[in-house]
Subunit: 307 residues, 2 copies
């Protein structure tokens, strides 16, 4: 209960703009409460022009233990840190920051880890597979890093980025290709033929009347679709894939699967372990009502998806 | 419940050093919860040298609506504001800050208002009376301002400050004497003869073995004692006064009585009104177990206190 917040409570902040619809505060605070951790995650509505000053100054409060970074601030954080994990450095953005015992600030990026967890939760194959990532922004880069990191055995073998903004995909692809064993390329077309997995990391689908980010009719019949969007699910894209009998998954499980990573990073290892064993109380918070049936019985990819 | 903290939750912060034992977070959050206000008060452990930067920067987050200021920061705030109420200006310190609709920061000081409310709650006479305030620090000044503000009819007629540090009381007394109708003086002695009310605003009594701040044996038999300390209550001073059959009161009710002022200042007028009608849920949080009997039946000053 919030009146259990006392003078000794530790603070985690989540700056964003807008931050109003961010789901992580409810998820974190339910987790802290469940596991008896005397801490809260509080949203902070911070405009981009004020972010750097706010970020540095907030840590002057010694009980501010860390931050989760919401859009649009993720790319701004890397330069403000004393240290940054590999994922954050390669992707050029950070979604989590902690204060070390030596009072330094270090950050990393767990969006992609969330995707990996979500794919495994749904049995969607990606190891050794060919993946098309639509979009080349912050989320797309985070996903690409996590897919590439495992090498061609534990990670994807071939990753293609497509972005409608000419040249945008090339920068991300070149950086990842240089860091990892996987072949990472930019492609000019959103044609999905020949890919085992297509991931929508564009905002297309957030607004009524958006064009579909690709033509699902051209996806291979065994291929799976993952749409990282949270609002308006199931999106027209997901519904189109379902109509074709393809496995298509909304983004909510990414949020769930990020949580153990955050908790471990913040030093709450026991809670992280417990959450890996049972995170259904979080799914009840973030899954939309129409998907609540998937909490007890996740829809899993299997070869019967082959049309 | 803290997992009801969402992306839309408004934030109030309470910076202090130390802030660990501050009671206001539990009181505020219980109040917000009870009256369905989507807001929290969060402690912020901020060292003095970092306070000014932290203070200004924290308000860069647009959902930070205000602060309550804990020691030792109260005197540092006045110079950081766009505007300051009379009590704050005269006392030279501020314990509450709000963001105005025009995005300015204004502050005021309600410690003394809390004392006035506590005196009235316990029927302790102070209007038109002679009051000795022991100590001349931030709390003493706040109390002096509130006692003097009502004029010699609705406020105290004569207020004397005593501080063991030579010269310290003179500055406070001169400032208040210039502002208000009451006679406000500094006195060299802590002799309580001739006063109707003695208020301990020194830290004496916080540590085992502290000398008593005055000799209660010399208090007039009708006089009342108010000890603003919260820890170690009943203090040796309060117990000595009780042993003499005097009315003596610990400081907890000051905290309770400040709450409606804070809430109204922060724009939560309905909650302030409701709290004036019934604040017993807050007394249950802050009164120590030994005083819980006073929640239903406050110990009130009456002439039978005359020995």
């Amino acid at each position: 209960m919030s009146h259990s917040i006392s003078g000794s409570t530790q603070a985690y902040l989540i700056p964003g703009d807008p931050v109003r619809n961010v789901r992580l505060p409810r998820m974190f605070n339910a987790t802290f409460e469940r596991f008896g951790i005397d801490a809260v995650l509080l949203p902070m509505q911070v405009p981009v022009r004020d972010f750097a000053v706010f970020f540095k100054s907030a840590f002057l409060a010694r009980n501010v233990r860390g931050m989760v970074i919401a859009p649009p601030h993720k790319p701004l954080v890397v330069d403000l840190l004393d240290g940054c994990g590999l994922f954050g450095r390669v992707a050029g953005s950070v979604n989590v920051v902690r204060r070390t015992e030596g009072d330094q600030l270090e950050g990393d990026l767990f969006d992609g880890e969330g995707l990996i967890g979500a794919l495994d939760h749904c049995n969607i194959p990606f190891r050794g597979k060919r993946v098309l990532i639509l979009g080349a922004g912050v989320s797309a880069a985070a996903i690409g890093v996590a897919l590439a990191e495992g090498g061609t055995v534990n990670g994807a073998e071939y990753i293609a980025f497509h972005d409608s903004a000419a040249g945008k995909a090339a920068g991300v692809a070149a950086k990842l290709d240089a860091f990892f064993d996987a072949t990472v390329v930019a492609v000019d077309s959103n044609a999905p033929e020949g890919y085992d997995l297509v991931i929508n990391a564009t905002p297309l689908g957030l607004v009524e009347g958006d064009a579909l980010p690709l033509d699902v009719a051209r996806m291979d019949s065994h291929a799976a679709l993952f749409d990282i969007l949270l609002r308006n699910q199931p999106t027209p894209l997901v519904r189109a894939a379902w109509a074709r009998g393809l496995h298509a998954q909304a983004g909510f499980e990414m949020l769930i699967q990020q949580m153990p990573h955050y908790l471990r990073y913040f030093g709450h290892a026991d809670a992280a372990t417990a959450l890996r064993a049972d995170a259904n109380f979080l799914r009840e918070i973030v899954y939309p009502p129409a998907m609540h049936g998937e909490i007890a019985q996740p829809i899993r990819y299997h070869s019967a998806n082959v049309a």
